[in-house]
Each structure stands twice: as structure tokens, then as C-alpha cells.
Symmetry: C2
Subunit: 536 residues, 2 copies
């Protein structure tokens, strides 16, 4: 009897036939096919509402001491704002510019005054009217990996980012319901010319996806083009644009304690039209931040508070998100590590800082693995659980991130979709109605026997439990017959199937035409080499 | 600049040399070797104290409704106790035996009366005086996978359980500090004769490990032998044995609603000497329990409460643990699934039931994967997080469980050790002293530059962050040069190294001799074919 825990009778006694039919046609989708469904059986569109209460990893006093230390850093050490326009704005609003430098020092009261102006929530909208998300509450919004210079899959291995892979990864971002916004460029379309890349990439985003749009803060011309392409693509007026959020961008500090010119222009232009900026210090503990977690948190928080205060000086009440990216490096090789115990702790603490400031928070599904293997899975799981328990709102790099973000992996993207679907399903309440409590079924089966044939079971056959996309639950014999496929191989099958099933979303032809006109106009003007005519 | 999130400067600019030296001699241990450490750098002995508050997944009303429904099941439907001795004890204590059957019905008040007698905590001790654990508080105790009929490793693949692998897996249970007790037979030593297997297996447990002992409740003779061997092996008297817990056993119900004879004898004999029984209903939702989570929880709880009440009738105040094993099956194949969203939810809810009853809880690190791949990692991570967030105390099958428990995998065991070490490290507080807050280091580095060379970093070079056992953080080029090793291959290297470094613990020769005398005596008596002379 002791063996009951390890011997799975049902698994052992299962007739081979049904198992082999699964083996032949490949797991879950095969089961569906048998039942006439066919295709990928992903979870229906459903908001990712976080049921888990946030964890107070640090005490309120400890959070307060990080806050106070950050204010001390901004008062005594200061942060470089590498753009004269920023220095002018900061000076006008009462910050102190260190003579003959771009270092800005802040009186603590000045920081407190401006971070209090950040809206605690905002609404993010996509072209699809169903695509409406409240940022700053219980909902978690997820996008795929972004900005990877390379991509990879099991068939063709590594290659530099290119337009074809860029568009296929965007299709996956659109296809899977776990993604609520376009995460950015999933991979850099490096075969497009740099000056006009953002124009073609932005047009492709709108053509291939109706989820909330994304722009890059790589200088004034590019962010202005992104905003205008988004406005035209969604067919909304300048006033409408000011009401809600339609595109997001990430601004990284150049840690330690610097904000560079292109990022500053991004903050200024996004603030002007009240679109959200995800302000994310790049504070890797041991590299661009102190080799202690509290020290790295002080650095992160000082850089974030200065940048956030600056954005509120540009436009009070402009929506933004506080991003945490703090992790540690391998002290031996200098390589960044993600999904580590240190990453979990700084993410939980950052969530506490965000709640203290009443500012929406962003984190990432990051890992340092080189393959879609066990390490990739447990590092991503540590990242995602810290996310859920940290009460984080925006999940960047939610799927496909590999090699510390140097690669967008098609298989890793699918494994992450499977993990994210598990989280979504986990958030569903347990049905507690009388029928679910099953007293009648328990009476019917009595002592001994089993519930396989019970009416209560039959009624729930298709819907009782989560059906995985890639998890392989066959017994060992059937699994070996099927060629002993590991997780990455199942993922390889699923992304190809998803691309085959992908359908391009509707897009008002007038809006599409308006975007294409703008793209051609700006191409003729040299793209990012010149400012658009509508620039202030 | 946007690329900062995906391009890892330190990773990219790292000189090849140090990376290659890691590649040659194999990751972490190589780094240690370079620094003269050598060997596996596992975490020091440290109690696994759970810092995370338990999650209330169900409301108090919902928990109460599961409790009430369980009492209704025990009052109206009843549970089979397949042993006349049990029926006699139950009748004497006021339970109702259905005429001409072994079905026992309980008045709700009777159940409430006896479950209230369970001690909320107890102390578990091993031969090693440092091996002392409080069960029922914040500590989580972990043992390896147990009772697997087969084992496997990458070199030799699958094979039936045998004495050699049994002893090697016990050595790993002893070697790694994350394990606080012997989980049981990590794999069944099936090449030992059934009647005397428990004698040789028990002697080996004591010879190879000084952590708390484990016995099997496979009938009166075997459990009495286990208790006596434990007593002699630790050199403690009958009275001392009654004071604290020195061995644990698992009792599984034969779900639905049955407790079989060998398990009943185990409960009776363990209760007599006040040793803890982990009472674990085998309620797989859709197979031996209703295909609804609340229904499966009602079944689990009814079977647990009846068995717990019975043990308290045998000996009021006898220590025990309430085990949850409730998961779901794949409705298509009947195969059990673990580490699923359903498993997480039932584990969280079970933790709430345990807190309501003030009874220590047990769960497992289970998965349904066939390989040490991504699925194995994410399923185990879901299991372990539900464990931590469920406020569970005893972790059975903590490492090495594969294929739904049909296999003890050497590589999976190491991957789980890595994951468990990550959890342990995550539980460590963030140092918040002035030096850790690093204001001076932040001042020293100022704007731009990096912390690699900072005095603050140098002082923390060796100790700043967790050093993984298997995680591979090398950049892609170095990783490819090293043969693109995946997680399972690193695990393969680590378990061999651990076995090479393993040292047999001290064992008082007089105690060892006394155990061997007993084993030979019982062997001569036919082992489990006869009761030991000291049997009541």
C-alpha cells in the first residue's frame, strides 16, 4: 500500500490504445482532435487578476529607511540628467544643478512633492475595444520579451534579429490570450535601416496586432513618430489621446545615477501627451549598483524617484510605471543572473516601495539560462512568483526571454505561455456550490471503487481541469514510443501551430492608409534624421 | 539605450579567459577550485524557516463548509476500517459500526472531540544531536522522494529499484543539508527478499544517515521491527522513545473512504509509542475522489478526519501529521497530474484546514514529467510554492520525484536540491545595516562608472550572492564551447561529485551492533512472517 503514493494505478492500468493515439498526434491537441476540436486549446481571453495578497518581505521601517536613504542620495550625491532641456526644466522647478555639470541635486521635500502627483492607476487601451486594462489595481498585464538582439528556435538555431522573426513573434504576441499588450520589439528587426526601422516596425505592430501599442524612447524623432503612428492607427484625435493610455515605452536609467539624452526626450514627449513611461533603473547589484541588496534597492529607488519627479515636472499627473529590474551578477564572471533568490527579494521589496508611493509597478519574467531547460523554467518561475507576490502590475519580457535577454526564443516563449496559463488558471476560484461539493457523488461511489464513471465526473469530463499546451502527462512507455520528447520539443510544435492558426486582426482601412501615408512621408524626410513637422 | 534591458554589458564585455576556465572544469565547483575551495559548495546546515505568510485562498466560510461537509460524509456515508481490531476500538469509543460490514459512521461531535486531541506541534529528532526539528511551526522539513519502484540516471537509464541505488540515494539524502529527515526508501530495494527487506533497509538507513529515521506501516511485524531498530540504533530506552518523535511513517487511505489492515496496524503501533504518522488520503480528483476540487477536498478531509480520530482513540495526544496529496488526473488518459493549478489550489486550501484544526500539515514536491526538463522544473516549482504559501510543515518527496513518483531520478534529485537551496536563500532577510545600505559606495562611484572595483564590492566578493549548484550563467559562446550542457547534465555531474564527497556519519558501535543482532534474530525468525518477541 505504501506504494500508492508513487504507483499511479490509473496511469499504470490505462489501456495502451488511447495513450498511443496521443503519442502519434502529439499531446493535448491530439486529444482535442479526437474530440473534434483540433488546433491549440489555449485559455479563453481572461483578465489576469492577482488573487494573492502582496508579501511584506521588509518591515515598514525597513521600507522607510530605503526611502530616506534614496532621498539622501538625491540630496547629497545627485543624478546626472544628460540633456540641457532637462536641466532647464529641473532648475525651473526648484532642483539644484551642480555648477559646470549635469548633476542635479534634489531637496527631499521637492521629490516628495512631485512623486505625490503620479496617478495611482490609469487605463491602457488597444485598438480592439475588448482590449482595456486598468493598470495599478489587481490586474497583471503581460507582453512578450522585447528588445532582444538575437532570436532562436530549435530548427534554425541562433540568428540576429530580423524583420521576418520580428513579425512572427508579434503574431505570437497577438495569438496568445495571456498577452495583454505588445511588449515592444520582441526581437530587433536589424535588417531594416536604423533611421526608418521604427516606422516600419510600428506599422507592423498595428497591422499584426490590435493589442495596446508600444513605442521606443530612442530620441525625440522616434518617440514622436511612434505617438503619431499610434494615434493614426487607432483613429483617435489629439484630445482623445490625452484621456487614456494607448502606448507604453520603457525608459532605462544609465545606472549608476544617470539618465541619458534620448531617454529624457522620450519622457518629455510622452508626458506631453499623457502616455505612460515605464521608468526602470538598470541597477544590477554588483555591477551598476552596490553588491548588497539594500544598497542596490537604494540606488534603484533614488534613480527612479529622480526620474519620476522629473516626468511630473514636465507634466503633473502624467501616468507612469515604476520598473524594478534589480538583480545580481555572478561575481566570478560578471554575468547578470535572473530568477535568483536575490531577484525575488528585490522584486518583493520593490512592490512594497510601489505601494508606499501609490505608483504602479513593473517587473520582468527573466532568466539567465542558455537553453529551454530546467534552469530556464525554475528561474522564470522564481521571477513570476515574485511578480505575483510582489503585487506587480506590468510584466515586461513575459515570455520568450532567454540568455539574460540576449535572445528571443520561440520555444521559451511557448513554455512561458504554458506557465502563464497555469498562473491564470490558478487564480480561478474553487467552485463551492453544492453540486461541486459532490456529497451525492461521494455517496454514489461509497467505500472503494472509483469516480471515473460517476455521473458527477462525466458531467465535468471536458471542463474539470486545466488542459496544458505542452505538459506531457503520458506514462513513460508511451512517452518513449513517441521519441521521448522534452518540453522544448513540445514548445517547438506549439509555436508552429500557433503561427499556422494566427489570423490578422481587423484594421480600419482608413487608419491603415493614414499610417502608411505617414510612414512614407517620414521615410522621405529621412526618418529619425529629421523631426516630424508636427513636432513642437 | 533601449537595449540595456537585453544586452548585458558585463556579460558581453567579460574577457573570455575566466569564462573558459569555468567551461573546462565545470561551473560553480570550478570557480571554487580556482579559489582553492574544491568540491560542491552547498549551503551550510540551516533550518528551512518559512518567512512567507500563509495564503487564505478560500474564505473562512468556505473552509467551514468543507469541514461541515466532511462531517456529514462521516455521519451519513461512513468509512471502511478493514481490520477487526480497529472496529473494536472505534466501537468502544462511540463510533457506529454498520451491521455486517466494516463501515464506520461517526457522530460529528465524536470527530470534533478526538481531532481536538492532536498535538499542534512535536519535536522530531535524529541520531545527530544537531538534528532537531519542531514540526508544526514555521520550519519546513524536507526528505527525498520515497517508495519509487524504479530509479534512473542519465548514464544507465531506467532500472527497477535495487539495494545499490537505494543506498546511494540515501547517501544523497544524508549529504545535502537541505534534507532534514530520511524520506523513506528513496527507491524500493526490490532485489532484497520481501520478508526481510525492511530489516536490511532499516539497518542501511541508520548506517548511512544520522537524520531522523523512517519506517513503513506495512503490517504489524514490519512497523514493530522499524520502531525497535530505530530505538536500538539511537540507543534510547522505551521511556525516552515516548517523549519525542524519532521516526515517521506515512499511512495512505485506500481512497475512496477506506483504510486497509496493514495501515491500521501501523497507526496502532506508532500511536502506542507516540511516534508520528503522516495520514495522507490518496484522493486524486477525477479518479479516487470527485472531479471537482471542493468535492475532492471534502473526500480528503473526511478520510483524514476519520483516520486522525481513530489514531487519537488508540492513544490520545499521539503526534501525527495531516497529509494532502489531492491533485487531478488527466481526464483523457486517467494519468495523475501534479504541480498543476489544481494541485496548488488544493494544497493552499489544505493548509487552511490544517490551521483550522491546529494539526501539522504535509504535502509533496510532485510532478508528472518524464524527463528532467522544463516541465519537471515548473511543475515542481508550482508544488513547492504552494507548499511555502500553504504554510505546510513536512515536505515528502522533496527531491528526485519523476514520472508521477514511479521513478527516483538522480538528476531530478539534484535539480530539486538546487531549487530548495534557492528557497532557503530566499528566506534569508535582506541586510539593512548602514554598511549594506552602501551610501558611501554610491558616493564613491557617483554618476556613471561601475561597482566592480568598489571597496564595498570587494569586501563582499565571495559572500554577496547565492552561488548555484547547477545553474549555468555563462554567456552563450562559452556555454556552446562547453558542449551546450543542459540542466540535467549539470545535475548528473553534481550527484556523482556528491557521492564521491559523501562521508558515512558516526554511529556508536554498540548501537550498530545491537541493530545487527536484532536484524539477524528477526531474519532467523522469518522476518515479517512472524511477530517480534516484544510484540504486545
Amino acid at each position: 500500500m505504501q506504494a500508492t503514493e508513487s504507483t499511479a494505478p490509473s496511469k499504470a492500468t490505462k489501456p495502451r490504445r488511447s495513450v498511443r493515439s496521443r503519442a502519434r498526434s502529439g499531446g493535448r491537441s491530439a486529444n482535442l482532435a479526437e474530440r473534434g476540436g483540433g488546433g491549440i486549446n489555449q485559455l479563453p481571453k481572461r483578465k489576469f487578476m492577482n488573487r494573492f495578497p502582496p508579501v511584506a518581505f521588509l518591515s515598514e521601517d525597513e521600507i522607510e529607511s530605503i526611502h530616506q536613504a534614496s532621498l539622501t542620495v538625491l540630496r547629497d550625491i545627485g543624478m546626472s540628467f544628460m540633456h540641457p532641456e532637462a536641466l532647464k526644466i529641473l532648475k525651473e522647478h526648484g532642483a539644484e544643478i551642480v555648477p559646470d555639470s549635469d548633476v542635479v541635486k534634489f531637496d527631499p521635500a521637492l521629490v516628495e512633492e512631485y512623486i505625490a502627483k503620479v496617478p495611482p492607476t490609469f487605463t491602457l487601451r488597444g485598438r480592439n475595444p475588448d482590449s482595456v486594462h486598468q493598470i495599478g489595481g489587481k490586474e497583471i498585464v503581460v507582453g512578450t520579451v522585447s528588445s532582444a538582439p538575437n532570436c532562436s528556435d530549435l530548427d534554425n538555431g541562433h540568428r540576429p534579429g530580423n524583420q521576418k522573426d520580428y513579425e512572427n513573434l508579434l503574431r505570437l504576441n497577438q495569438y496568445f490570450n495571456v498577452f495583454s499588450f505588445v511588449g515592444g520589439y520582441p526581437v530587433e528587426p536589424a535588417d531594416l535601416p536604423p533611421e526608418t526601422r521604427h516606422l516600419d516596425a510600428s506599422e507592423a505592430m498595428l497591422r499584426l496586432s490590435d493589442k495596446p501599442f508600444y513605442g521606443y524612447s530612442l530620441g525625440r524623432a522616434r518617440i514622436l513618430d511612434s505617438i503619431e503612428i499610434c494615434r493614426r492607427g487607432l483613429g483617435i484625435g489629439d484630445q482623445e489621446l490625452l484621456q487614456d493610455a494607448y502606448l507604453m515605452t520603457v525608459v532605462n536609467t544609465s545606472s549608476p545615477m544617470r539618465l541619458d539624452g534620448p531617454m529624457i526626450e522620450g519622457i518629455i514627449e510622452m508626458a506631453q501627451v499623457r502616455q505612460p513611461v515605464i521608468i526602470t533603473p538598470f541597477t544590477l547589484s554588483g555591477a551598476m549598483a552596490p553588491a548588497s541588496l539594500s544598497g542596490a534597492l537604494v540606488s534603484q529607488n533614488a534613480e527612479a524617484l529622480a526620474s519620476i519627479a522629473f516626468m511630473q515636472m514636465v507634466k503633473a499627473g502624467a501616468p507612469l510605471v515604476y520598473g524594478t529590474f534589480t538583480s545580481n551578477v555572478d561575481m566570478k564572471s560578471g554575468a547578470p543572473a535572473f530568477g535568483t533568490p536575490e531577484y525575488v527579494k528585490t522584486t518583493l521589496a520593490s512592490g512594497q516601495l510601489g505601494r508606499r508611493y501609490k505608483i504602479p509597478m513593473r517587473a520582468s519574467n527573466a532568466c539567465a539560462a542558455n537553453a529551454v531547460d530546467g534552469q530556464a523554467a525554475y528561474e522564470s518561475m522564481f521571477s513570476l512568483w515574485s511578480f505575483v507576490l510582489g503585487g506587480i502590475h506590468v510584466c515586461k519580457h513575459g515570455a520568450g526571454w532567454l540568455e539574460g535577454g540576449l535572445v528571443a526564443s520561440f520555444e521559451k516563449l511557448i513554455m512561458d505561455v504554458e506557465i502563464l496559463q497555469n498562473f491564470l488558471e490558478m487564480m480561478e476560484p474553487i467552485a463551492m456550490d453544492a453540486d461541486s461539493m459532490a456529497l451525492e457523488a461521494i455517496r454514489e461511489v461509497g467505500q472503494g471503487g472509483h469516480f471515473f464513471g460517476a455521473a458527477h465526473t462525466m458531467a465535468r469530463y471536458d471542463t474539470a481541469f486545466y488542459s496544458p499546451l505542452v505538459s506531457d502527462w503520458r506514462n513513460h512507455g508511451a512517452w518513449e514510443e513517441a521519441g521521448s520528447p522534452q518540453t522544448a520539443e513540445h514548445c517547438n510544435r506549439v509555436w508552429k501551430q500557433a503561427l499556422a492558426e494566427y489570423q490578422q486582426p481587423e484594421w480600419d482601412p482608413a487608419c491603415a492608409e493614414s499610417v502608411r501615408e505617414y510612414v512614407e512621408l517620414r521615410r522621405a524626410q529621412g526618418g529619425s534624421e529629421s523631426l516630424p513637422d508636427h513636432a513642437a
